[in-house]
Symmetry: C2
Subunit: 252 residues, 2 copies
């Protein structure tokens, strides 16, 4: 990530926009939200909102305009393939009020990938259409590029392509201080109903960290994991020590 | 689902609101969106939008008010446990401008579950707080109920609890005609770049069905699945027959 801009001390925020009827129908189970969220968190960018919208221009335009005005970055997935239902690139151009046309740079990359201009069918050329003013986000898997325009990064929906585009996109993004995360697992004997009051007191005493309780239900019954997150390692460690002491003090 | 209202001929729409910092940080990978989407689609309710927001009152209020005014239903998951970071019920009350207090009915259910009122710690009682005017959505797994207020259904975030709440919630919902779905898999030899143009022509000739192309990348390289969706079985079948004929006509 040698081209990445230096980490800033201010928080950097992002949102994720997933485009696709197949996610909303439940036919395809999204795998990109969790991946992008974890990736950006690890890079010091805080994801603050996610939206999933259908393959409908008006809805994509509305969502991208709402998100790009609220957060430092918007990362979208889906809808940049060659078929008639792939309308993300056109919708993004409309959201920015710019024209969209075949990009000579994208054509060159795709011509090389497909082994000659004669293999660039009209459908494949459709994937070379890039909004005016955008820069390409390269796709080492299948050539057809994503792009970045303003603070919006547009990527493919197929997970392994999206992941390689994200590796390239992060180089173009400003990153912040990484949010550190540590956790305490009280074990199956101690439910949320027991630790909630002392945990709330610790959370109130440590306003610069966020403390969450995440229950799950497994073969051993309910368990919860207590997660302490913050930008300052010493503050996270101090809060964690209090959580550990609180858990140790509870009679089993 | 014997209590369910009869299917209406008009489309019924829904949105999903996921509340939780742990989803936005990528620490927890959401499993509820895909489940709810598939469940509602199967029941004849079309999911039109999903949002994920943090455990921040203002953001929950804003999202639930936007979604409930646009869609027939909002289904939320997460943030109704006993810990300090569980603020969904209070935020929903605020969104509706109603008060929130301990529900005698919820207390009765939880007292029975925990084996006596003496086990209802203040933290557990917190889970019995229900906005004024809401009706309970029962939780056969761990007793603490969800609720429905207006067109908003509020459920737990733990997947197996959410799923049982959803079984109960659907009985309170109006359902529409089920969207039928059928698909054609051209196989590894035929990519989107080849079928895009004839597929678009078929899509245009069949405006009452929606035709999507969903590529994936596996050991055999790229493949795509062509999905035909619609409310009318004869129209879906007619479009599917044309898609099959188109695929069969492509030289491999």
């Amino acid at each position: 990530m040698e081209n990445r801009e230096p980490a800033s001390s201010a928080a950097v925020t992002a949102s994720i926009l997933v485009v696709g009827d197949e996610i909303l129908s439940g036919r395809t189970k999204d795998k990109n939200i969790g991946y992008i969220a974890e990736f950006l968190t690890g890079a010091g960018i805080d994801v603050k909102e996610v939206r999933v919208v259908p393959d409908v221009e008006e809805r994509i335009v509305e969502a991208v305009n709402a998100l790009r005005s609220h957060y430092d970055y918007v990362l979208s997935t889906g809808g940049i393939g060659p078929t008639h239902d792939d309308i993300t690139a056109d919708s993004i151009a409309k959201a920015f009020g710019v024209s969209i046309d075949v990009s000579p740079q994208a054509v060159e990359i795709m011509t090389r990938h497909y082994g000659g201009a004669e293999h660039l069918t009209p459908a494949r050329l459709r994937m070379a259409r890039i909004p005016d003013g955008a820069e390409l986000v390269l796709n080492p898997v299948s050539a057809a590029p994503g792009f970045m325009i303003g603070n919006v990064i547009v990527m493919a929906g197929v997970p392994n392509i999206m992941q390689r585009m994200l590796d390239n996109a992060i180089k173009k993004m400003r990153v912040g201080a990484v949010t550190l995360s540590d956790s305490v697992s009280p074990g199956p004997g101690i439910g949320e109903g027991i630790i909630a009051a002392p945990l709330a007191a610790i959370a109130e005493a440590h306003p610069e960290v966020s403390i969450g309780s995440y229950p799950s239900f497994g073969p051993a019954g309910f368990q919860t994991q207590l997660v302490i997150r913050g930008k300052d390692a010493a503050k996270v460690a101090a809060a964690k020590a209090e959580v550990e002491a609180m858990v140790a003090g509870i009679k089993r």
